[in-house]
């Protein structure tokens, strides 16, 4: 098992390198010249020599490959570089990453508990009331786009009822930290959760139904064990494997892809940072945020492998 984990971990290093190469050279290929953001056009045309000196001192005239390794070396030393407005990317991320993790974490846990729970109950009580209602809601939840859910929620809860703030993560001068966080998180978390619950519910229901039709469930019943044991011990564990894969692969989408939700709620997370950077052509920030999202993807896929190995002995032995 330890060997398995180590092997999977080591395999992540070349993958990250490849991703960093794609990100770096890909963005260089867009032909954005950072000088344009530092110096105004009038100054630029008047002081061509000085600008050239600046270019030289910043290393922008070096071959791309040299620039790449310098960037990579800096990254490895924890130096993420600067945004075009001069702020340190590392310090921006230090504030915004936790916000995104909060958002992603809560919606992940909530949707896992609700989605898998309802899915499993729907499978056990197939064609029951919960199953019917759940199926209709699942279609709705998947069909309505997230930004619309967000806007509707803002309409109802912020504008009409005034229960929750419509934007930001902290209110200035809030005394009760916990309450403040809860109020700001409630609507975006709900928005993210609704979409995910729909997906997970359908998926958990279908895999559980498959498992409940398999022969070993009959074997389990033939032992005379109570039904809850048949469902939880023999059914649930086998059904959870594919569901967990889906769940884990939602994490990178949540971290990088809550872009829409973060924009709708003006929530200052990584998604917002990235969208703003893309709009502003701030490729330093785009590179780092892209890398972070790619790294979470890799970490999640690593965790999927490990979880699979823990849950299914057939994977473990194929080391």
């Amino acid at each position: 098992m330890l060997k398995f984990i180590l092997k999977k971990l080591l395999m992540m290093i070349p993958m990250l390198l490849v991703i960093s190469i794609i990100v770096f050279f890909g963005l260089q290929a867009t032909g954005i010249d950072p000088i344009n953001f530092m110096v105004s056009p009038e100054v630029l045309s008047a002081n061509a020599d000085n600008v050239e000196a600046l270019r030289e001192s910043l290393g922008l005239n070096d071959p791309l490959i040299v620039q790449y390794f310098r960037w990579l070396g800096n990254l490895l030393h924890g130096d993420f570089g600067y945004a075009f407005d001069g702020t340190s990317i590392a310090s921006t991320l230090a504030v915004r990453m936790p916000y995104t993790f909060e958002l992603a974490g809560y919606s992940l846990i909530l949707s896992a508990v609700i989605g898998i729970g309802i899915g499993i109950i729907s499978a056990i009580r197939q064609n029951g009331i919960i199953d019917y209602v759940g199926r209709v809601l699942a279609v709705l939840g998947q069909a309505v786009p997230q930004f619309l859910v967000g806007i509707i929620l803002i309409q109802i809860f912020s504008i009409k009822l005034g229960w929750f703030p419509a934007a930001n993560r902290v209110s200035p001068g809030a005394t009760n930290q916990f309450l403040d966080a809860f109020q700001h998180l409630f609507l975006p978390v709900t928005t993210l959760t609704i979409g995910m619950v729909a997906v997970l519910m359908r998926y958990a229901r279908n895999t559980m139904l498959d498992v409940l039709n398999s022969d070993y469930i009959k074997t389990a019943r033939s032992k005379g064990i109570p039904e809850w044991k048949v469902y939880l011990k023999h059914g649930f564990r086998n059904a959870m494997k594919p569901v967990l894969v889906i769940l884990m692969f939602r994490i990178p989408t949540l971290i990088g892809g809550s872009v829409v939700v973060e924009s709708v709620f003006s929530y200052p997370g990584i998604g917002m940072t990235m969208t703003n950077a893309i709009v502003a052509n701030d490729y330093n920030v785009v590179m780092v945020t892209t890398l972070i999202i790619a790294a979470t993807m890799l970490i999640c896929s690593f965790m999927v492998d490990v979880l699979n190995a823990i849950m299914d002995p057939r994977v473990r032995l194929g080391e």
């Binding site: 070993y216 019943r221 033939s222 032992k223 005379g224 064990i225 086998n238 002995p313 057939r314």
Partner: protein
């Protein structure tokens, strides 16, 4: 016959499936008895309702199955005292009454060992589960019992194999594990649903020998569902021949094999392949195919394929006649014999 002698007495079992809001009768008025300490073989071609009959008794069918019977009586013999269970009166198929019987009283060996074991648990734990459930034994104690059972069933290296997962076992060994699961609580009645169909021939013989041994040495009662006539001849004391959800002939092995009476049984026995078939000699088959159970014509279900069919066969339901004590045939050829229910 008294309840000491008969372990399972089924009278007029009917199983109906609801599909597309239409009711399809799969098992019709099936009656049979299993004598204590003997083996009953249930034979018939695919789809004749053998498995459904047994699954109806064990109550393993889904919610779309409706089970009705005059009586499904299971007689447990404990310390010389007989306890009667009326399974047809038990409402919840997975409720406590049914569960209490599954394992310590009646158990089942399934057809396909490849899929009958849960892939994510160790085989030893899967065998021990039933034992722990019914006896409240500690894990360690149960492990000893499982080891003992593995040794009895001829699983080599039991100390090591007990901690293996199903995918590390061959088909024959997996079936031994399935048998161990069925046997671990020492049940009186073991229903084997085509236990060797998924295995290759050499392993088949081993598994059947194992089952026969259990029946003879430990006095177990076995119901063997099969379509392998060779196995029937070797294993069975009594034979129940089914066709299209009905018992067409029931009797002792000698009755059915030597004094074969129903045209279907005769045809079935003729179509058993034998080694050394002469060149150019074709294996006999039963002409035609089984009718669709959803739209049956009145009269005998076998009429269309029967060489001895008469006009009367197609008129109404055929009663069962007892042509000698314990030998019952559902065919109008024997209408001079006394009718039984």
């Amino acid at each position: 016959m008294d309840t000491k002698e008969i372990i399972l007495d089924v009278k007029n079992l009917n199983t109906t499936f609801v599909s597309d809001r239409k009711e399809v009768r799969i098992v019709k008025n099936v009656s049979f008895q299993v004598k204590r300490g003997t083996a009953l073989a249930v034979v018939g071609e695919s789809g004749c309702g053998k498995s459904v009959t047994m699954n109806s008794i064990m109550r393993f069918l889904g919610k779309n199955a409706k089970i009705e019977a005059d009586s499904i009586q299971y007689n447990a013999l404990r310390d010389g005292k007989v306890t009667e269970y009326h399974l047809e009166q038990i409402k919840n198929p997975n409720g406590p009454e049914m569960r209490a019987l599954r394992g310590p009283d009646m158990s089942m060996v399934f057809q396909d060992p490849m899929s009958s074991l849960n892939p994510v648990y160790k085989v030893g734990d899967q065998v021990a589960e039933g034992l722990i459930q019914h006896t409240g034994m500690k894990k360690k104690e149960a492990r000893e019992k499982v080891l003992e059972m593995f040794r009895k069933l001829g699983i080599p290296d039991p100390e090591e194999r007990i901690d293996c997962y199903p995918h590390q076992f061959s088909g024959g060994m997996k079936q031994r594990v399935v048998i161990a699961i069925a046997m671990i609580c020492n049940p009186e009645l073991i229903i084997c649903d085509e236990p060797t169909t998924a295995l290759d021939v050499t392993i088949q013989a081993q598994i059947m020998e194992l089952l026969k041994d259990l029946q003879v040495k430990e006095g177990k009662s076995i119901v063997l569902i099969t379509h392998n006539m060779g196995l029937v001849a070797e294993m069975a004391d009594e034979v129940c021949v089914m066709y299209m959800g009905r018992v067409v002939e029931f009797g002792s092995l000698e009755d059915v094999f030597d004094r074969t009476s129903h045209p279907y049984t005769k045809a079935l026995l003729r179509s058993v392949p034998v080694l050394g078939l002469a060149d150019g000699q074709k294996l006999e088959t039963i002409p035609g195919s089984t009718p669709n159970p959803a739209n049956l014509k009145p009269g005998c279900e076998f009429a269309d394929r029967c060489p001895e069919c008469t006009a009367a066969c197609r008129e109404k339901d055929i009663p069962t006649f007892e042509i000698s004590p314990g030998h019952r045939v559902r065919c109008l050829k024997y209408k001079n014999f006394p009718e039984v229910e």
